[in-house]
Symmetry: C2
Subunit: 367 residues, 2 copies
Amino acid sequence: MTRHYNFCAGPAALPAAVLERARDEMLDYRGHGLSVMEMSHRAPEYVAIARQAEADLRELLAIPDHYRVLFTQGGATLQFAAVPYNLLGRGGRANFLHTGIWGSKAVAEARHLFGDAPVVASSEANGHSAVPRPDDIVLTEDAAYLHYTANETIGGLEFDFVPEAVRPDGGEVPLVCDMSSSILSGPLDVSKFGIIYAGAQKNIGPAGLVVVIVREDLLDRARPDMPSLFDYRALADAGSMINTPATYSWYLAGLVFQWLKHDIGGLAAMNAINDRKAAKLYAAIDSSELYANPIALRNRSRMNVPFVLADERLDKPFLAEADAAGLLNLKGHRSVGGMRASLYNAVPEAAVDALIAFMADFEQRRG
Amino acid sequence: MTRHYNFCAGPAALPAAVLERARDEMLDYRGHGLSVMEMSHRAPEYVAIARQAEADLRELLAIPDHYRVLFTQGGATLQFAAVPYNLLGRGGRANFLHTGIWGSKAVAEARHLFGDAPVVASSEANGHSAVPRPDDIVLTEDAAYLHYTANETIGGLEFDFVPEAVRPDGGEVPLVCDMSSSILSGPLDVSKFGIIYAGAQKNIGPAGLVVVIVREDLLDRARPDMPSLFDYRALADAGSMINTPATYSWYLAGLVFQWLKHDIGGLAAMNAINDRKAAKLYAAIDSSELYANPIALRNRSRMNVPFVLADERLDKPFLAEADAAGLLNLKGHRSVGGMRASLYNAVPEAAVDALIAFMADFEQRRG
């Protein structure tokens, strides 16, 4: 068995310790005589797994009691629809910050379903190289909520502050954040948000699971015409088990939460590791003649580090040699090209060191 | 490691050979140096897994070329919404057959979203102990499609024929079937159906995956106001990868398809095994004084065998002793009580033999 270093943007690397545990428990979960995959979601041993996962997530993120945690399906993309259905029942329009491809997909879905959805601030003018400043964010009078993408996975652009969601009349509206590619990368003040949602396949677990953290008072403003499975109130009341949830993915997420708590030591420790990993890779890029990253320093993503080579004819040999060296999935998103190294929680510091050494060696030989 | 016999209605037993393969490939998929869970859904090695799974399913069910196969998320319950969105774009009303709890949930969702949705035939009058006869099924003049549930997982009631979906004026409409708990239990004439959908967690794989088989000409009658991820046309065009699919569940489904092909020998062989399993369990029930099943002979489910004990005070000891004997999850659905033995594909004949022996012994001692 060989384990390579995996810089995939998602589905992404998982901790080897988590995979080993899942492997060892695959045919017989702790003497119960069956796999977690084979358990009824109503069985006491499965309910215990699900509840422990939620408790661990709550502890890791210090989620206040007046927030509910949902484990649902369909990816963040399904939440692009579910969020407006859940928040537009009292009228008003969704307001959006647009800082890249994922944010624009969220806007498009809100417009598709409910017509107008104003973008109230955008980084389009600077090519999504720096997020809007707090003063640039001016909500509409009828804003029902403000949505933004904390970290743009493709662009490698990350907010360095939590926006305020306040209408011109001074009224606060819920702040909604797609945190798919940065959740659990460090501590978080959940109380600033109305809704946080995240597809699992970066820092949480396998694809097919979505975590939604929603403030309790927002459970009563849904449109009545939404598909029943979108209903946060119903999901919350049913412990995310209106129907059969993605039981195995939920279990794996729980193993990741345990790993974060016990192997890493919590999110402050994870944060320090992520700081180090990103800092050394950006330093290597900035000090080279061959590699470049265009993002404003304050908005450089810790999780997704896109970079280009000065001569794009070197892209192919770079990727082929990296692959041969056991450094996988460094190709940039097909919409932007170049390279991208995703440094999620499960990517060890040794992987970043190996990447930096490879990049230096490649530059010396080919740059 | 111990493996017990698991009669769970879903999530349900998986073949041990599939779990062993998944275990062995967990940390390193065939020398690629990473888990399937860690692969990009766009990576060639993952796309090969996904395409092979589709090809094997097509082969097993002899799916004609003019049908598309989708691998999506949200359980059959999300399809209760997605189907009417995809089929009501040209007006008309959804028609339903009502033969139990799952069918009634499908009706309720169609009504919730689109108002009227007539039940054109029902087994309510006989307590869902026999499905309507073909002659009892009279569609409305404005029927857009006919929906039914091939096998009611909770009631243990299975259709012994494929209904015809013809309006009084002679016009054929699409036949839509929720086949969650009977798909792949035997050969199937897919060409009789417009849409077949099935939650994976019975005969396909782990919870969190839904397979939709849709006739190509039905991809163009969707309502424009539906959530984008419901769009069968878009899903078909994107190879079910509009966004990240449930990659690991899809892989496991593929392993199950391989097992059906190579270990079992295809669906005709599976069908024979399922016939034998169900026949011997029903025979044991019918020949006993203690156990009873109320379903009409022609509609007895091969997959879900509910039965009651003549004295319900024996329910608790029956379940406790069965559990101690390694016969798991025999408790009936909380809405109906009693017992239920689910005999999905992955439940071996030896499990049924063990259950029958236990039941006889229990009856002798306690009946």
